[in-house]
Amino acid sequence: MEEKKKLWKHIKAWVDGEEVILDADKYIITRSKKVKKDWRRQFSVETIKGNTKLYGFLSVAISALFIGIMLSVVNDLPEFGNPSNPVDNEVMERYLESGIEETGAVNFVAGMILDYRAFDTFAEANVLFLAVMSVVLLLKKDKQNYSEKEERENREDDFFDENEKRPILKIGGKILAPLIILYGIYVVLNGHLSPGGGFSGGTIIGAGLILYASAYGQKKMQTFFTFRTFTLICVGGLLTYCACKSYSFFTGANHVGFEIPKGIPGNILSAGFILPLNICVGLIVACTMYGFYALFTKGDI
């Protein structure tokens, strides 16, 4: 009877939302003991993770099962390199046969991603932009993200940058960085004529900038590349991209406006919007890559 009364009191307190008031300590202790025996608890991720051996065995088993299933799927898939596979259909034929006159790009891949399926590529440029903005949100110094130790380390690094000789890196950087950047620009500008394009070229330019910054210190970079320029270039590039694509989507879907002249395929000034789009993407990517580097080392651009 006593037990029953107690239980009733507990339920009443629980419904009233005042369980802590009612002999709280005892209640919490018994409760925590109970929870451990509870069968529900045994299936939660934490307890499985606590048992390292079981967890390891399970993950290996799942992966092995996965590989097994996938191998049997691969067994059933169309043959590798066979010209009569389902992927060799009218879509690919049109890209390859009418691609030159419809997009003006000699590089069919560039023509495909920047003209036929440009919406995907626009989203992709946005992914990159969002990633760099989230890294800014995470790593840029502010009052929440600030530690004395890190400041001291950064000052030490600056000191080394200025005073250490490091001749191999410095001379190498001086000679190589312009060459790398030049090659990157070449890849960007020839995106519609040869393999490569905005993204690969931009990455190469970014790598050149990173080499220069690591050889001569970020202070020197900041003379011509600040956070303001970074934002302006990124936003400007994306806005140009957005404007070009909006124009072509709008006119294409509504059958209005005039088409951009395609030029003679093979010339550098050809292929309609593909060249400016490649340049925009290249600028964005180069800034983004250098931005990642700068934020990762100093927490600022």
């Binding site: 389902p86 399926r117 989203a123 946005n126 929440q144 709008f250």
Partner: protein, 501 residues
Amino acid sequence: MEHINWIHNIPFFSIFLAMLCGIITALVKNGKVAFKIHSTMVFIVFIMSVILLLSVVKNNEIFTFMMGHFPAPWGNELRAGPLEALMAVTFSLVMLLTVSGGAEFVFKDVVEEKQSLYFIMLNALFGSMLALVYTNDIFTAYVFIEVNTIASCALIMAKGTPQSMVGTTHYLVISLLGSGLFLLGLCILYSITGHLLFPQMKEAILEIIKTDQYRLPLLVVTGFMFIGIAIKSALFPFHSMLPGAYLAAIPTSSGILSGLVLKSYIILGIKLIYCVFSAEVMHTLKITEVLFVFGLAGMVMGSVYAIRERKMKRMLAYSSVAQIGYIYMGIGMGSRVGMTAACFHILAHAITKTLLFLCCGSFVENSGGKEKIYHMRGAALRNPLAGIGYTVGALSMIGVPLLAGFISKIYFATASVYSSGKMAAVLIVLGVSMVLNALYFLPSVIAIWTPEKGKENKPNFSVSPLFAVSIVGFVILNFVLGIFYRPITRIIQMSIELLAQ
């Protein structure tokens, strides 16, 4: 000069407007200005979506919009019908109300110089959700899923506390696993069909079913894609990312993530079911049955976890798991009636859960930053408006008549009659889950209305006007959905009919 059909341009305009605002906001330093840009954008999208909805309902049509100069199998396409337009209206309305109500949390919790970055993420998130709703191309869907993932992770960690970083890491790893599986499924699907756009894929898949050639790959592909979507939308066994993330994030972010982001993946799943795999194929491959079972499990287990939980935000997160279970149960019934119920529940849950999260944020604020429910005693007395909002939301989740949650439960029960062999299971689990819902929502409602002994509980009516507007808006919406639900369900039925053609 041909005649331009401006209404058909609305999906394209909405997506690009959102993305454009996201880009422009990077130039703005001040968070308040960014907030104004964001609200204006969402409002314009809302107006446009309403026009689109009225037009497609009047004409009873689904149209495709060509993105660029090249028609279907070569270029990208958008596609809009009543379902898409209805979801766009809901998303923009909920987004508008949530962000205007939750702006004060953003201005309080996010570091001042980074507030504008938060709004970049919101704009991009909104754009990507619209794109997921409107897309007619599977690769576009994948890319926008990634946009969505990065933006939602950024929203979670915007608070900058260590806990939010841990929550974000957990969320990021699990979401990336989900999108990896989706991508793998996409690749195999491309290799056996040779297309990337929904209608062409559907034809190829029907051909495959007829010739029986790539049957095993097709089964595995469907499995992977739906596991990917289930991970992304936190169906029961994959829900472990939600509680930590929602607890650590700003209430605004939690509300948007739970109310809208999870739903956008489900809408993508529904579109995949009807436009790519087609309902019959899903039925022959028994995928709907699996979804049904996991939905039922999620309904019960989510509630059980929620009862055990002592922190309010975590409790709401587990309750989301249960509600996602409801939606998957509706999808898994495999009938059009079940799908209608699921779609209605998406709307009901979107407006209710965001309301609950906003009120919960306000309670946490006026009980001195304490998260546990018994620290929030009397919180509703200190802020009566939020208290009323929370009560209405909780009652709607339990399924009290006149509120939105009740209608969706009625629809689920009705739908169970039409699906043979599932009726008993649905009705029993529905009843159990309603009781469980009441078991965890009622104590929290009672707790917030009980005055704390020995403490003054002075009501504070000086809430910010935007917060008041948004709470009142949500409450009214809840009643509207609960009383005048007929036109909405008719639109949903119509759109399901159109999709299934």
